[in-house]
């Protein structure tokens, strides 16, 4: 059913935009940031506030969400995360879980616990038919935006100086430092950018996934699955993993509704047993 394929691709690309930041953070600094979903939630709420309360057009609110989350990420990174870099994975996990709890409760306090909706403009609602496939307008927008972002990310990584420095730092940060690359600054910028991407994903996803204070906890699992399955040493790995998961999830729910999300977890475990570094990663040097 091609409509299902289309839906799955849209869902997968949304997952990718949400999880890309996490993949880079994990690959670059070996830092497990379970609070990644909190930045996505922040972006979603910024969009809701700007569109619903301030009347900003939806498409204009997307860059605002991106910048807001990026700024938030930058501030948090410089003030809180720096202290936790050297610690063990377990400490990092605990730290970020604590941050998630705090952010969930804080947003609950400020925005209330019920789900919020974005007033999506008329032209983006509904669907049209193309060769017998039902193309949802909003989902088409997601695919376009996320597709462009992926290409942009790949270009930045492959063709810019910043990208090559980033790739060097991911491969071996010690040697990179030795060559004079300011790894800390790269990391701060990458973290901010990744959080911004998450915020953008949250803003786009509010319509499809539903936005409420529990968002980080509900979707953290999916981001982690994308990152673990896709590996962390490239962009294409998580990209293909998100597509796989998105299509698998949507198709699974359509064809075998009783199994539902069971499928995702099983895929993850099977893949992790078979290839502990992830499906598409090169053998890690660490």
């Amino acid at each position: 059913m091609l409509t299902i394929l289309f839906d799955g691709i849209a869902y997968g690309m949304l997952l990718f935009v949400l999880a890309a930041g996490l993949a880079v953070t994990l690959g670059l600094m070996n830092f497990v940031n379970l609070a990644h979903g909190a930045f996505a939630m922040a972006g979603g709420y910024v969009t809701v506030l700007t569109v619903n309360r301030m009347g900003v057009p939806f498409l204009a609110s997307l860059p605002i969400a991106f910048l807001a989350s990026a700024a938030l990420g930058f501030i948090f990174e410089r003030t809180l995360y720096v202290h936790v870099y050297g610690k063990s994975h377990l400490d990092q996990v605990l730290f970020t879980i604590g941050l998630v709890f705090m952010s969930v409760a804080a947003v609950d306090y400020v925005m209330g616990s019920s789900q919020v909706f974005v007033q999506v403009p008329g032209p983006l609602q509904g669907k049209f038919d193309l060769f017998g496939i039902g193309i949802g307008r909003y989902r088409l927008l997601i695919i376009i935006i996320c597709g462009l972002l992926t290409i942009a990310l790949q270009c930045i990584l492959a063709y810019t100086r910043f990208g090559s420095r980033l790739r060097a730092a991911v491969d071996d940060s010690r040697v990179a430092r030795g060559l004079g690359i300011n790894v800390n600054r790269i990391f701060a910028l990458t973290f901010a950018f990744g959080s911004g991407l998450a915020g953008l994903g949250g803003a786009l996803g509010a319509e499809i996934l539903g936005l409420d204070p529990g968002f980080p906890l509900k979707f953290m699992i999916y981001f982690l699955i994308v990152v673990t399955v896709g590996g962390t040493s490239s962009i294409t790995g998580p990209f293909l993993a998100s597509l796989l998961l998105g299509i698998g999830d949507v198709a699974g729910k359509y064809y075998v509704p009783t199994l539902g999300s069971f499928v995702i977890y099983t895929i993850m475990i099977v893949i992790l047993i078979w290839r502990p570094q992830g499906l598409f990663a090169r053998a890690a040097s660490r």
């Binding site: 059913m1 409509t3 299902i4 839906d7 869902y11 409760a105 609950d108 209330g112 616990s113 019920s114 789900q115 919020v116 909706f117 007033q119 999506v120 609602q125 509904g126 669907k127 039902g134 949802g136 909003y138 989902r139 319509e207 499809i208 996934l209 539903g210 409420d212 529990g214 509900k218 979707f219 999830d249 949507v250 198709a251 729910k253 359509y254 509704p257 009783t258 539902g260 999300s261």
Partner: protein
């Protein structure tokens, strides 16, 4: 390293000493209110709390010479917690009434406690039929899901709807809804083309809606818990199903007043059957809505009247028993009580201790720029059909 034991032991004793200073006041009627302030059903908890606060503000906290004290606890939408909290409230705080219960398992799991401790269990939100049968101390002021569903089935079969796909959430009220609707609808000659069940947590309705649409029904019957109606509506519109001529029917949970304002034009035209709409045209309701909105920034929804009427029931029962607050006297006083609620006239069935109320058919329309469920037909004094049928 082992020094930490000392700290732990001291901590234990400190807390024990603090907690031991519990003074029991005989002139207080204590109500343990266990609702979700966090977790999946947090929106329900918020509504109930607001309604309870409003009632106590309007009617004071003294009834029949006794002071009424509400002790609030958060169940986090987890039934385990509800049971543990209820146990603590009964044993340590010696409450006379346990109220709340936003989900069915919470109400079911506390039932044996209510029976053993002879404490009134007042269900203000949960909607499965069998709840009131689990203990002679259970009384309900909310609703039962089948009450609304059979009315929907009646309306649908009379209004040219022949083929229906049912979509319900995968938990007890969902099964109740699916069963009561299907049986009534099929008995009237209708056809259920498919019965789809959606996972309760994190639902993405898109694939299920697609599957439903592919069977080309006249209408989709939908039941989801009150927090999820908005997402469903959005995805319904996104699939273009409203434009494809597929009607949306169901009990009023999907057009919950709490979420309705944010749903957008996609919801207009949805026909539901339920016991309360913020738009209900009675002086009592208008006063209620005005006071509620003034105290909070949101509209009262159907979950709130369960709380409001629950408090009313307790107050009136206390007046009737002259202040006696033990379980048996209160239950005896509560049975058969009738009064005018913001939703319309209601009463407590003396045989089942369940609620008997009007069910209205309403349609979503825009009034003064906001969406409301506008009532256009009334079915009076509807008892819970499942229990009524099992008695025949």
């Amino acid at each position: 390293m082992l020094s930490k034991c000392m700290t732990g032991v001291i901590a234990t004793f400190a807390f024990g000493a603090l907690a031991a200073g519990n003074v029991l006041a005989q002139d207080t009627v204590k109500i343990g209110l266990i609702i979700s302030m966090t977790g999946q059903q947090a929106s329900t908890g918020k509504q109930i709390k607001a309604a309870v606060d409003l009632y106590m503000k309007e009617n004071g906290d003294t009834v029949a010479g006794k002071k009424v004290q509400v002790i609030l606890r958060d169940s986090g939408s987890v039934p385990d917690n509800t049971k543990q909290l209820a146990q603590e409230l009964i044993v340590n705080e010696k409450v006379n009434v346990i109220a709340g219960f936003e989900i069915t398992p919470a109400a079911l799991v506390v039932a044996p406690l209510a029976t053993e401790a002879k404490v009134v269990e007042l269900v203000m939100a949960a909607g499965t039929s069998i709840i009131t049968e689990k203990s002679p101390y259970i009384v309900r002021t909310s609703f039962t899901v089948p009450q609304s569903c059979v009315i929907v089935a009646d309306w649908a079969s009379k209004n040219n709807i022949k083929k229906v796909v049912t979509i319900v959430s995968d938990y007890a009220p969902g099964f109740d809804a699916e069963k009561s609707f299907s049986e009534r609808f099929k008995a009237a000659g209708g056809e259920i083309t498919e019965a789809i069940r959606v996972p309760l947590a994190n639902p993405d309705f898109a694939p299920f809606l697609q599957r439903a649409a592919d069977t080309k029904p006249d209408a989709i019957f939908i039941f989801v818990p009150s927090g999820q109606g908005g997402t469903f509506m959005k995805q319904f519109a996104e699939r273009g199903l409203d434009k494809a001529g597929i009607k949306l029917i169901g009990p009023g949970d999907v057009t919950d007043d709490d979420l309705l304002p944010g749903m957008g034009d996609a919801a207009v035209g949805t026909v539901t059957a339920h016991f309360y709409s913020a738009d209900h045209n009675s002086p009592k309701n208008r006063a209620y809505v005005a006071a509620f909105q003034k105290a909070n920034n949101f509209r009262p929804a159907f979950m709130s009247v369960g709380g409001y009427d629950g408090m009313h029931l307790i107050y009136e029962a206390l007046k009737k028993t002259g202040g006696k607050a033990d379980g048996d006297s209160l239950i005896a006083a509560m049975k058969g009580m009738k009064w005018e609620s913001p939703r319309g006239p209601i009463s407590i069935d003396p045989e089942t201790r369940d609620i008997v109320q009007n069910i209205y058919i309403r349609k979503v329309e825009k009034k003064d720029g906001q969406l409301y469920n506008v009532e256009f037909a009334t079915f009076e004094a509807v008892k819970d059909p499942v229990k009524a049928a099992s008695k025949k």
